[in-house]
Structures are given as C-alpha cells and as structure tokens.
C-alpha cells in the first residue's frame, strides 16, 4: 500500500465515521455508503489539508471527490502536483 493511501486510511479511521475498518476497505468502495456523513467529509477534508499541506479549491468541493479512497487519493495527488 502506498504511503499516500495509508495516510488517507488513517484519516478516514479518525474522521470518517465509517461503519467498517478503514484499513481494509476496498479503495473503490463508496465511503458515503460506508457511513461517512457530509459533516464527516468536511472533517476528512480539513484533516487531509493538514496532513498533506494542500488546500482543496472550491471546484474540488464535490461529493464525488470524497466518495472513495481512490477518489481522495487522486484528488490529493492532483493538488500535490499543482
């Protein structure tokens, strides 16, 4: 598992309020279906910004961007590359 994905899983474990174990969740599993509320997704976003020293612009504040580990990983990678 990449360091990026590992850190994302840790953030989801702490802030995502998932019903299952974030450490073993399928990267493409729907996080909202797994229990993440809209409020929890805000906490996840703020924790991601702190962990990776990035800022999510308004254009990325979409439900889909935080819908799975894979989607979050892609978004963080995009922000880090910018």
């Amino acid at each position: 598992m990449s360091d990026l994905v590992s850190k994302i899983r840790n953030i989801l474990k702490e802030h995502g309020r998932l019903s299952g174990d974030a450490a073993t969740l399928d990267p493409h599993a729907d996080l909202y279906q797994a229990g993440m509320t809209s409020h929890a997704s805000v906490n996840v976003m703020l924790a991601l910004e702190g962990e990776f020293d990035v800022e999510f612009p308004d254009a990325m504040l979409k439900r889909n961007v935080f819908s799975s580990i894979a989607a979050i990983s892609a978004a963080v990678s995009e922000l880090q590359a910018a």
Partner: protein, 140 residues
C-alpha cells in the same frame, strides 16, 4: 431568484424540490474544538459566525443548524457535484427569529439556471441534533 426584470417563468409548469439534513450538535462542537477557526471560516459567512458566536453556550447548535441548512439546500438544489463554497449558501436570521437562505456567486447562478423561483427554510433542534428542511419552487 430571477436574474432579470421580466418573469420568464410565467406560464411554465412548476415543481417543488425538497432537501433535508440532520446534524449531531456534539459532533460539530468536536469539529470546532479539533479544527478551530479553519472549520468555522471554511463553512460559515461573517454574518453567520457573528450570530453563532454571540452566545458561547449556543454556538455549537447554531453552527450545527446552519450547516444542516447548507446541506439541505445543496440537496434541494442538486448542487452536490457543482464544487461550491459552503459560504455561497448563507442563512439569514430576521429579528423575529425567522431564517431564510441567501445564495451567492456560483450557488446563485446554479439556482437561477435550474429555474429556482423561491426557497423556504425551516430549522429546528432538540437535544443533540439540529435539522433543516429546504423547499424550493422551480419552473420547469
């Protein structure tokens, strides 16, 4: 909600759209404690912050109700994939306590584009939960 002086929706069929949201107040308090000003300033306008923080004991439930209103509006207006700043959806409170929504920027533009004519907001809280319902009248 019309952007022009003429009512271009006259005669067009209309429909109602609704959105609702429920927030746990203690979770909002946790977010404020954990993320502090970053959490508050990311989500709320200056006016919302001024009202919510005017009572320390009611701050969390006021922020919770307003967050719930923003989420309810996002659902009613189908804005979840538009990439919006939460501050573009603002809760205004009249002197008599009645609350209404005001949209700004891209949220306002999206609502006009969607034919939204009117919006109505209801907020409530009980115990550890705050909830909001937004009803929109839209021209098809």
């Amino acid at each position: 909600m019309s952007s022009g002086s003429e009512d271009s929706s006259a005669g067009r069929p209309r429909t109602l759209r609704v959105g609702t949201d429920l927030v746990q107040i203690s979770r909002i308090a946790e977010s404020i404690e954990r993320f502090g000003d970053r959490f508050i300033r990311r989500l709320f306008t200056e006016g919302e912050i001024a009202y919510a923080t005017s009572s320390e004991s009611l701050q969390a439930e006021r922020f919770a109700a307003r967050f719930s209103a923003k989420e309810a509006a996002i659902k009613a207006l189908s804005l979840s994939e538009d990439g919006l700043d939460w501050k573009q959806i603002e809760v205004l409170r009249a002197a008599n306590g009645a609350c209404t929504l005001r949209l700004h920027g891209a949220a306002l533009a999206a609502a006009v584009q969607a034919g939204i004519l009117e919006m109505s907001l209801s907020l409530s809280h009980e115990g550890d939960y705050a909830t909001a319902v937004v009803v929109c009248l839209a021209a098809l």
